[in-house]
């Protein structure tokens, strides 16, 4: 059990203190996006009130201030993921853009016909489609690591997929739909043994797990700000220096150039080579305060609390099954948990027999409870599991055990309703 003072943490999140449909808001859609602490909101307001200027160019004071703050976030994220050099951290719009950047630049330069890219069954569409696009363009082949019923990768099959043809392994670290934590260190070591590059989709992982890109030895890591208590519209692409330097630019424009003439343009150094155009300055600056928020509480404390929430949720859902089977003539459990991997973050998907997930989502919303329902942008995974969607509760550091109880009570009502 965690030692955190959850009430004082909650008090830093103004949005949580409201009623929805006449009931206190219970926000369990954290895997979609986390809420923002007051410090992040304040940083955004302060930036536009006092510091707004375009970065990296002008000689004036405001420009110097905004540039310093912008670069300060880069240093903070470097430390947060333990990158060797600050230049290895590129600001993007988010994880989707980070992955597209690698697919479109690294992929375009280094992938050839007959090469193979390996992904997993549990990828988000944003780590499937960019690879499909570049594979189609290059005549490369996309291979998929299968999973077992619990939602864990079949590592023996991964071994069989790897070969000298493998050029890229693009793998989700933590599944958004199932919560599974994949054995990424082993995946990386095995890929490197075949000379392949590894990109990790860190969208879900970075808010729950300690991140050390040097220890992992991953070649690329995509990070999201808005799933990490920061603003939307900001992401980071970490890449090893030698790879980033070998890659052509992503987009052309300002910032990414060294010199431009109509005959020829030479490109800027990393990270600026990949940051064409005026970036999302205010949100990047505010992102630092989200990272500070996480650092202050500590990832270990965060995950200890989140794991307690998850355990209470899973135990509670199991208890509803036992109680219902005892009290009715039902043969099958009314609730099926989806995603029961041994290594998980605080995400639980499930389905209620006889009730469509949309109906369940609407009924929970009527009780002020926000969960995600649907395919979670993982249609191939849903097909593999034979589902068209799930109900997903995902917990964050500001959620309480009492909220889990409110949620379980509401689910119990849904189960009764579905048996009518």
């Amino acid at each position: 059990m965690s030692k955190l003072d959850i009430i004082s943490i909650r008090n830093q999140f103004p949005i949580l203190h409201q009623e929805v449909n006449g009931k206190p808001l219970v926000y369990f859609d954290n895997a979609a996006t986390t809420q923002k602490p007051q410090a992040v909101i304040d940083a955004l307001v302060k930036y536009y009130n006092t510091d707004n200027a375009n970065i990296h160019r002008a000689a004036h004071t405001l420009a110097a201030r905004s540039t310093d703050m912008f670069e300060d976030t880069r240093k903070t994220i470097q430390a947060f993921i333990n990158a060797k050099e600050v230049e290895e951290c590129i600001f993007t719009k988010g994880v989707t853009e980070s992955i597209n950047l690698v697919a479109q630049t690294w992929g375009r330069k280094f992938l050839q016909a007959g090469d193979e890219v390996i992904i997993t069954t549990m990828e988000h569409h944003s780590n499937i489609v960019p690879w499909q696009m570049i594979c189609e363009e290059k005549g490369a082949i996309l291979k998929v690591i299968p999973i077992n019923e619990a939602g864990e990768l079949l590592m023996d099959d991964y071994d069989k997929l790897l070969s000298s043809k493998t050029k890229m392994v693009a793998c989700v670290w933590v599944s958004n739909a199932l919560g599974t934590i994949n054995p990424v260190k082993e995946i990386i070591q095995k890929a490197h043994a075949f000379g392949a590059i590894v990109l990790l989709d860190g969208a879900q992982a970075c808010s729950h797990l300690a991140v050390d890109v040097q220890d992992l030895d991953c070649d690329f890591l995509a990070v999201s700000s808005h799933k990490l208590y920061g603003p939307t519209g900001v992401g980071v692409l970490y890449g090893k220096r030698e790879l980033l330097e070998a890659m052509p630019p992503y987009q052309g424009g300002g910032e990414m150039i060294k010199e431009v003439s109509f005959e020829k343009t030479t490109y800027n150094e990393i990270p600026y080579k990949f940051e064409a155009g005026t970036p999302n300055i205010g949100d990047v600056i505010a992102f630092k305060y989200a990272l500070d928020f996480v650092n202050e509480i500590g990832k270990e404390n965060i995950s200890a609390h989140e794991n307690a929430l998850l355990k209470q949720c899973v135990d509670g859902l199991d208890a509803i099954n036992v109680k219902t089977l005892h009290a009715t003539s039902l043969q099958d459990k009314p609730i099926t948990l989806i995603g029961t991997a041994k290594q998980k973050v605080s995400v639980q998907s499930f389905v209620i027999n006889g009730m469509h997930h949309f109906d369940a989502g609407m009924m929970l919303d009527a009780k002020g409870i926000a969960v995600r329902t649907g395919h979670h942008c993982t249609q191939p995974l849903m097909n593999r599991l034979g589902l068209d969607g799930t109900i997903r509760a995902s917990f964050s550091v500001y959620n309480t055990l009492e909220e889990v109880d409110v949620f379980l009570e509401a689910v119990q009502r849904l189960v009764k309703l579905s048996n009518k």
């Binding site: 449909n21 006449g22 469509h356 949309f358 109906d359 009527a366 009780k367």
Partner: protein, 142 residues
């Protein structure tokens, strides 16, 4: 047969009883859905699916004694309740009555709050499809 305006006014009155309590409204919608006459499986084909809905919705028209009859179904109960309101308003009316009618009950019962903009798109597709069927029957009859 009640006219379209009267039916809509009745729906509005029924929803007013819930005084905005969302859970009661959803239960009511699910009950309405359950009361819809069963739609034959043979009518639930690709051709009769309403496009753009997040859940599956079928609307099947037929024409009898100058009136359009609608059957409808959905794989989610709340959506089925929503589409049942349209059936209530528009089934068993003439093509002209359907085409000339204005749906005022939707706004009055706070439908958009219930279904959000994404699902509203699906709902407006249901309305378009029903009007299109009415138009088709009207033109084949002229």
């Amino acid at each position: 047969m009640k006219n379209i305006t009267d039916i809509q006014n009745e729906i509005i009155e029924n929803f007013e009883l819930f005084d905005g309590d969302m859970e009661s409204i959803l239960f009511y919608l699910m009950d309405l859905g359950k009361k819809l006459p069963a739609m034959p499986e043979a009518h639930k084909t690709e051709d009769f699916i309403v496009k753009g809905c997040q859940s599956k919705v079928w609307v099947y028209p037929s024409f009898m004694d100058g009136k359009v009859i609608f059957e409808a179904d959905s794989n989610t109960e709340i959506t089925k309740g929503l589409v049942s309101l349209l059936v209530q308003v528009w089934s068993n009316q003439t093509p002209n009555e359907i085409l000339n009618s204005e749906l005022f009950f939707i706004e009055k019962i706070g439908m958009s709050r219930m279904i959000g903009s994404q699902r509203s798109n699906g709902f407006s597709n249901m309305i378009k499809q029903i009007k299109m069927y009415a138009l088709a029957y009207k033109s084949t009859n002229n």
